[in-house]
């Protein structure tokens, strides 16, 4: 039965072979020093068992930091000169105080009380000791085993050191305590990168597996790994405090060139987009290279019969793996640093975005006012990469749109219509009164419910076109004529010669369930609008499933190809212009239950009479 000890109490040990179990609730390093009669650890080698040198005569300690440890001790095997065996615990933060903060609790005061239990090798309890009352200590002399009249006893000590492992080792009389602590740190870090390195491609899962990463909201989990360059260390923290003398500059919204705040924000968002693309490209390139080098090294080892087996081969394989993991680790650290900076930037940029650039959940929409100037650009959704799923870059498209939009309804028709409506409402709301007109062709009437908000508030001036193909022909003919007129006017350099009463607003034509209800003539007109419309202020938004148009064979391929494809569900189909990563696009949808859309459209309808239009 286990004797519960209090600090200072001792207890006789029944035999020489023991197991010491440590449970700390947070990763700690366990180590053992062998001391003489005074408890001093002499300068001889082999008196300090730690992760870098885990085996000493009679003592074995684990190689890595962990929340639970089992140390095997055979007191019969320790040298004659050794009279005291000390069991030490240190937090990762305490191994090398003042060095890069590796994560985990900053002191034992912030961690559960560590407990040491001594058992027989069979697991029968002998004595237990819970070290309580710790505050700023980061290293700990937990228990001491000492010779007494030919046998051994255990004493509960519980002496903590705020100065960490170096202070503890200094107190024990070890020469060069700082250098020794550094060796421990290096050994732990090496073990750690071995343990978690394989998960580096999955940052989300990596945290769960290791369970020790700092959970800083908005930043990316980052493994404590003191081998990293110190610059990377700031990656685990959120934005650097203002006025910090070192580190990357504190991001500011609108920190980009441009003539207006809108243009500056637009350029900044695209700058972030490019930076993220390139940072991830650097990381992927390094990770691919590390993998290729590892594969090559393995192939070389296997190709040579002399190196194929045996302990040397084992060591060489380990070496290759360590090299691979270390490189990926290093690349990940650089990426984490960049991601932290971009995340901090996104945190200041998102709230500063004007409604046209902002997501529907952004408070900017609640403070919406009908603009007096046409918008510079509009948000089509967000983009992200698997390396940084939390970092969403707004996808901003310059206005007027250079190409039409195709909302792919293959996956989910209902959501595709919602996406189209949210986008149309956004375009409508982003333009001044009378500067944007919307036509909805819904020959099957299937989008009536979804488009109802557009009509309900009176924000749309144009009446809904007649149902069926009559309505299609009517709208398409009007828009075709319009494009033709504008082109003629532009060609003859006589933009002022347009007929009086000509509607100069940008026109957006939404076609739902294309090509339902379209005859050949209408298809031809639509293709004409897709090609010539953007330059003449007529834009297309097709809500279509490509399969529905399969009957046309490849004829409609060029038209679909010319449209920017958007999806109602997240999908990896957009690539960036610099590196060509596949980005996951997510549309800008109105949050479920939100009344922001009717609110915005009502404002728009209210503003209309004031302008007399």
């Amino acid at each position: 039965m286990t004797a519960e000890l209090v600090s200072g109490q001792n207890h006789a040990l029944p035999g020489n072979r023991l197991e010491i179990r440590v449970s700390a609730g947070t990763p700690v390093v366990a180590a053992v020093t062998l001391g003489d009669e005074q408890g001093r650890v002499t300068g001889d080698d082999g008196r300090f068992a730690h992760p870098g040198e885990p085996n000493l005569p009679g003592v074995e300690v684990p190689r890595q930091a962990a929340a639970d440890h089992r140390l095997a001790v055979d007191l019969g095997a320790v040298p004659e000169a050794v009279h005291r065996v000390h069991v030490l615990l240190a937090l990762p933060a305490g191994i090398h105080p003042g060095g890069p903060h590796p994560g985990g609790p900053p002191s034992f005061g912030a961690a559960p009380a560590p407990r040491v239990e001594v058992t027989t090798p069979e697991g029968a309890g002998i004595a237990g000791f819970t070290v309580s009352g710790l505050t700023t200590e980061t290293a700990l002399l937990a228990v001491e085993l000492y010779r007494r009249q030919g046998g051994w006893k255990i004493r509960a000590v519980g002496q903590g050191y705020a100065g960490g492992l170096p202070a503890l080792l200094l107190d024990q009389g070890l020469p060069d305590p700082a250098g020794t602590a550094l060796a421990v740190r290096t050994a732990v870090a090496r073990e750690q990168s071995r343990a978690v390195g394989v998960d580096y491609h999955h940052p989300g899962r990596r945290t769960a597996a290791a369970g020790t990463a700092d959970e800083v909201p908005g930043t990316f989990p980052s493994e404590p790994s003191p081998e990293r360059p110190s610059a990377a260390d700031s990656a685990v923290r959120p934005a650097a405090p203002a006025g910090a003398p070192e580190g990357p500059p504190v991001p500011v919204a609108g920190d980009a060139p441009g003539w207006s705040m809108e243009e500056r924000l637009y350029n900044q968002v695209w700058g972030m987009f490019e930076d993220l693309a390139r940072s991830v490209a650097a990381y992927r390139s390094a990770a691919d290279f590390a993998q290729a080098r590892y594969d090559q090294e393995l192939d070389r080892l296997l190709a040579d019969p002399r190196t194929r087996g045996g302990p040397a081969a084992e060591a060489a394989r380990d070496q290759a793996e360590i090299r691979q993991i270390a490189l990926v680790d290093q690349a990940r650290a650089v990426l984490d640093r960049d991601l932290a900076q971009l995340t901090a930037e996104a945190e200041v940029v998102e709230p500063a975005l004007p409604p046209a650039f902002a997501g529907w959940e952004n408070p900017a929409w609640h403070a919406y006012q009908v603009p007096t100037e046409p918008p510079f650009a509009v948000r089509l959704g967000t983009l992200c990469l698997p390396e940084a799923p939390e970092l969403r870059i707004p996808l901003l498209a310059r206005l007027p749109l250079e190409r039409g939009l195709w909302i792919d309804s293959a996956e989910n028709r209902g959501l595709a219509v919602d996406t189209a409506v949210a986008l149309a409402a956004r375009l409508l709301a982003a333009h001044p009164v009378g500067a944007f007109a919307l036509h909805v062709l819904d020959p099957a009437g299937s989008a009536a419910t979804a488009t109802a908000p557009l009509y309900a508030g009176g924000a749309l001036t144009l009446p809904a076109p007649a149902a069926g193909s009559a309505g299609i022909g009517d709208v398409l003919t009007r828009l075709t004529e319009r494009v033709d007129l504008v082109q003629m006017a532009l060609r003859s350099d006589a933009a002022d010669a347009l007929p009086p009463g000509f509607d100069t607003a940008e026109q957006l034509l939404i076609v739902n369930e294309f090509p339902y209800g379209f005859d050949d003539r209408a298809i031809t007109q639509l293709r004409y609008l897709a090609d010539e419309g953007p330059a003449a202020g007529v834009h297309l938004m097709l809500v279509a499933d490509r399969e529905d148009a399969a009957a046309y064979g490849p004829l409609l391929g060029p038209m679909f190809g010319a449209l920017l494809r958007l999806t109602p569900l997240p999908s990896e189909h957009l690539s960036d212009p610099w590196v060509g990563h596949a980005w996951t696009y997510e549309p800008a949808l109105v949050p479920a239950g939100s009344q922001v859309l009717p609110h915005v459209l009502r404002q728009l309808a209210d503003a209309r009479p004031a302008y007399g239009s």
């Binding site: 390139r278 990381y283 390139s285 290279f289 490189l327």
Partner: protein, 192 residues
């Protein structure tokens, strides 16, 4: 302080105060071909192209040249193609900027090359040079003269190399022949 480099010479890119350089620019300059005849447009223009090849452990990973002006990771940027050359007064006609801090961790060497796209050999090109400039203050760190190179159409100029103590630059100066950097890869490999 400028170092006039000779072939094979190596300089450290650490600053005198112990700090290391953060950004360098490799500048390339040459004198435009003289105008000739009544129709200046028929001048046989000299188009030299500067390129930078990024190596990881002797494997080319990325290249920056006139058709790919920025390395994928964004650390190396070419400021643009110059098709005719300049006044030959020592100004750069083409520049490649290297942000040493942003070079991906696995890239250990960046090799700079010059090709004569229009085919003239270096013996026909006047006042050609390449130089390395500390981009943060415009100070010239090293200069390397290309002319007198003889009947070659390309040259592996220099490399910057990552080492334990930071980056170093080595003048290579190996002559080669080729229209673009692709032709030079076999000539570059021995210099790594």
């Amino acid at each position: 302080m400028t170092v006039n480099m000779t072939k094979g010479q190596k300089i450290s890119l650490s600053k005198a105060d112990g700090g290391s350089l953060t950004a360098v620019r490799m500048g390339l300059g040459w004198q435009a071909a003289p105008r000739r005849g009544l129709f200046g447009s028929r001048t046989r223009e000299i188009d030299l192209d500067a390129s930078a090849v990024l190596f990881a452990d002797k494997n080319p990973v990325d290249v920056v040249f006139f058709r790919h002006l920025t390395s994928d990771d964004g650390s190396v940027r070419h400021t643009g193609d110059n098709l005719v050359g300049g006044a030959g007064q020592g100004g750069d006609d083409e520049s490649i900027l290297v942000d040493l801090q942003r070079v991906p961790v696995h890239i250990d060497q960046i090799v700079f090359t010059v090709n004569s796209f229009t085919g003239q050999t270096f013996s026909e090109v006047q006042n050609a040079f390449c130089r390395l400039v500390d981009e943060t203050n415009g100070q010239e760190l090293a200069r390397y003269t290309l002319t007198g190179g003889g009947s070659y159409t390309a040259q592996i100029m220099a490399k910057v190399q990552r080492g334990a103590g930071g980056w170093t630059m080595t003048a290579i100066g190996t002559p080669a022949n080729g229209r673009t950097f692709q032709d030079l890869i076999p000539a570059i490999v021995p210099a790594l």
